[in-house]
Symmetry: D3
Subunit: 248 residues, 6 copies
């Protein structure tokens, strides 16, 4: 059940049965020579909808621009500053809590979001308590990173070994190929694996990773792989969401 395709009376009904919501969060950032700029948002959104279908969870609108400052020396990247993303996540949770939601399950497609979103959770718990919203002390937020699912990691290891990498990975490119076969790019990649270096500022990032990839060989990706990753993530996160709902 997608929030965007529902009416408010339908949400009112839903809240009688469940106070959980799935919120996809991705990024709009360079993903190397053949990876889509929307990769992180696309994957998070599709997997969230899969989890929604599987668990009858309500799925909120995708946060499609996240914290990608280190990619901003490549054209096409859009980013929020951490202070902006922190305020945004706090706003989302605050207004949904006022409506009665208490279980927030963010499905994340971008490692760079993790720090800021966790900081936002901490700040929001205190904010809600200061607003004295009923049940605010029962609010629970979870950040579930699809790319860290053990089933996903195992599959990546099996398919790509040490050529999976850590940015513009073969697995995430595969998922986008499965979802948008019409947007598969025919680009020759450097045969040599790019470095998988530390991340500092945006200019430094581009110096270290001239084509944008970090240790990955996304030329190995196929739509069929993508479907397997997608299904593995949906299955594992659906289970995680159910447990989250039931946990005290």
């Amino acid at each position: 059940m997608q929030l965007q395709l529902s009416t408010w009376p339908e949400v009112e009904e839903y809240l009688k049965i469940s106070s959980g919501i799935v919120i996809p969060i991705g990024s709009t950032e360079q993903h190397g020579p053949n990876g889509l700029i929307g990769t992180d948002a696309i994957c998070a959104e599709a997997i969230s909808k899969g989890v929604g279908d599987e668990t009858e969870a309500l799925v909120g609108p995708t946060i499609n621009v996240g914290m990608a400052l280190h990619h901003t020396s490549f054209p096409g990247t859009v980013s929020l500053r951490p202070s902006t993303l922190l305020a945004l996540v706090q706003d989302y949770i605050t207004f949904l809590t006022k409506a009665g939601f208490t279980k927030f399950f963010f499905i994340n497609g971008h490692g760079g979001n993790m720090a800021t979103v966790k900081a936002a959770f901490a700040q929001t718990y205190t904010h809600l308590s200061e607003l004295q919203i009923p049940n605010s002390d029962r609010v629970q937020c979870r950040l579930a990173n699809w790319f860290l699912c053990s089933s996903v990691r195992n599959l990546a290891k099996e398919l790509y070994g040490d050529r999976e990498g850590s940015h513009a990975t073969a697995s995430e490119v595969a998922v986008t190929q499965f979802l948008y076969p019409e947007a598969i790019k025919n680009v020759e990649l450097d045969a040599q694996l790019p470095p998988q270096d530390k991340i500092y500022g945006p200019d430094d990032f581009r110096r270290r990773h001239p084509d944008g990839r970090m240790g990955s060989d996304p030329s190995m990706a196929t739509p069929e792989h993508g479907e397997r990753f997608y299904k593995a993530a949906v299955k594992e996160l659906s289970q995680a969401y159910r447990e989250f709902l039931q946990a005290e």
Copy 2:
């Protein structure tokens, strides 16, 4: 050309030809008993993609949660505070300007966004100038509201007369029906037109507009109407975008 489905080298190529970008902005808010919560984001996104197809403009990711504080007494509404949305719009424009974009054409689906987005434009021009980004003094932002297109207003008048209303309007519901026929709701609406009152705070809004509509009769909406609205908006805004690009 969608930013989300492009690679950064493709954006680099695009920037050699054009420095314009279309950014859809909507909202996630109650739209009465039969209107979708995502109506404003759905319409802005679809029309933006239409304009992108028509004009070969790059279309950025949709800002799907906007300024909807006055709707937050209805479950399912998500909103940013104006201060958050202001920072968000500034971040979008700033990082895209660094990459070389100078013509920002926001296609908006929600009246409640207008004030904050305009304030954000003003603040961002000065911000860019203070950052001394090259060409920042050539940056131009435009807020184009599809529902205010004269072709759209004329069609709404022709089809619905004074039953179009100003929130959860027949025309916007029609567009979502055209785009998502599977999400058409069978809901009986009160025959009497709801009031079209002033807007103050969220509790006050719900008191005045108990089912969420403002002066509208969206039971008149049909998918066929929606298609006509969609096409009218795409045509008129494509023309507006072309003129915007060429204007000094």
Copy 3:
């Protein structure tokens, strides 16, 4: 009744009779070769006092610096950033609401303030509700732009036709001449009407409007015109204020 010339016990008495207050808001910005930098604040203040005399409304202190970022390439302009003005308006309303005011009637002299002030109203309604101030859900804010009064627009059309313009207009210059005859400037204006172009950043603004005017011929202004504009605005806004007080 001016707040600045009252004592707190007098305000306490006033609040037993009325919870309305008029707040003038203007700007401190260039107004072309012969327009006063304080034009917008001067007009808003004088008209507000006129409305206060007519309706026995309490009139608060003038917000004399507003959102004028686009004029900051001309010396003498002072501006708040939108984020500052947003906080300022929120502070004003919050503390006056704590004292018991619920009807805020801002009389505005500057188009550039409109977006930010409206955004501030929206943010403040939610802020007040979160602070749980008694009666905060009854708070209503109105932005009344004197230069958009129909009586004012008609008179400007009658007196100046298409030479009224949109910034440093003949009508607002006339009002300041009526109020401050000692400050009438003898400046020869370019006979040709200046352009009435789009507004972007401050440098761009000065490029397009070298002498600061937008489409106006303020050499047509006279103190006698000014008095007529002043009286028309006071009359129309007094009526609007009375209706605002009585509206539910």
Copy 4:
């Protein structure tokens, strides 16, 4: 020379001769049973204009609402939070510095502003330096409190001895009586001097100072006294302003 009554070309001329500006800052807050709510703004503005006349300084628009949080339990008080006032002062100085001003002489009428304004000065110096505005490292700000002028303190001691007090003082009430004789209030004051206690939060303040005064007997004030205070302050601050302009 008042900024509000000048044109931008006049300011451009002025800047060829001087880069100094006088900015009055006051407050809108309770001043006891017979003191005007606008006392601090009224005094600062009048004395600033006097200094402007005496020294041919440009006088900017009055900041008439300041930091008066501790008075907000009395109706009629309006206040900015320190964070808002800090941003406001930074905005004023920043945009005037861009135009070429470097010597900012704030004439202050309210003790409660001092901390925040000084903090704002410090923050602004660094802000200007980070913006790399030409001459920004020559910017100097001074906070001149008229009520702390030695000539004023001596006169108050002579006229009122220990009945001058520290809020709603006899001297400041006298100045407003001189300036606005039509607003002199006939109010019987408690013969016993009110306490002159520490200042904490707003509720605490009202508990300690039930009628709003701190240690003062403003029933001793007369318009004639007011004129003497006004003249003393103008003289002493004119001298201070001249020295400030000449100081390296």
Copy 5:
């Protein structure tokens, strides 16, 4: 009793007896050729612990970086912007108030902190009242500057006359020599007293005070002097703290 060396059950017990806390606040900034960068934090911390021992007060962790923007042109200086320090002080007081503290006694070692900390107190009182924390209207904050103690000033006058100065003073250097004899620096100082000029921006400060001192001759400092200053400050502030606790 030091907060850092206590457990939460010990604090719980303490709160049954007292709701007071001493918070040292200093700075990390250049102190001339022979003064320690940590001088202000070191002095404030040691004197606070002395007061804690004397009065059985709980002593919180030292705020060792304060508002030192004007010293940032000298290497080694660290500073918070006033807006950051304001938020920090508000956070400290807010969370300690939630735990039951109501009497906050800041022992300060740096003149540059005074404005911002006082502004923070004012803002926090209103913030606490808006959060509706029980007893928040009983919260009292005091800023006690050890270097302004009359016993300290008298001793400095006696020992150094007009060579005490106002930054990198002989007295504060003496206190650090008493506390850290191993860190006494053997540095030849210019025999001529450095200027004691106005403070503006960081670059200007270094131009006026090339070696960092303001009017001081810290070559006169000795560890023995330091002990006397330390004891004087502890004695005077212990008395001040006791009175603060008992005051209504």
Copy 6:
């Protein structure tokens, strides 16, 4: 070499040899019935000084209050909100970068700081680049958590097995016992291990962890253990710091 005990000319000399600095960051929060409230700051500071001695690194002042919102239902906890800590870290790095530092090695004693500090690093890189500080694109920040050192983890496993826990751990309590033997608390702990649950808001945290510990048995801690942990951490982090300095 401690920054607090150095002079600015000494720092100037240091910068000719190294542009690295070690910054300890901890927290002031409950650590169960026998753990010190300052545990995280104490450990981070001592280990940082050890690393400084070992590597001749400059060690900055300790950030002794961090992000501990989830502990604020226990008395004695002080916390910054993430937005405040983010601004604080940005200020520290910005002003030190202006002085010439480029390698920032934060030694952290508190898991709750990690998210916010990482977010602050990302934001600061972009901030520095926007300020156009020379060498700002060479700035590198590292967050080194002493409790995650492999030598520390191995030792904890060896000494405590699964009774180490994750908050108020045996190892960190041991380090404080080594450093402050006079502050060892004789408190009987519940023999049963406390739960090691998820972390949400402050009230929820106290409900789940009534005595403050998470899965730990700090009654096993001894000063001798503490010394071993301390030495292991200093050794491992000294090596890490050296590599960090040399890394490109």
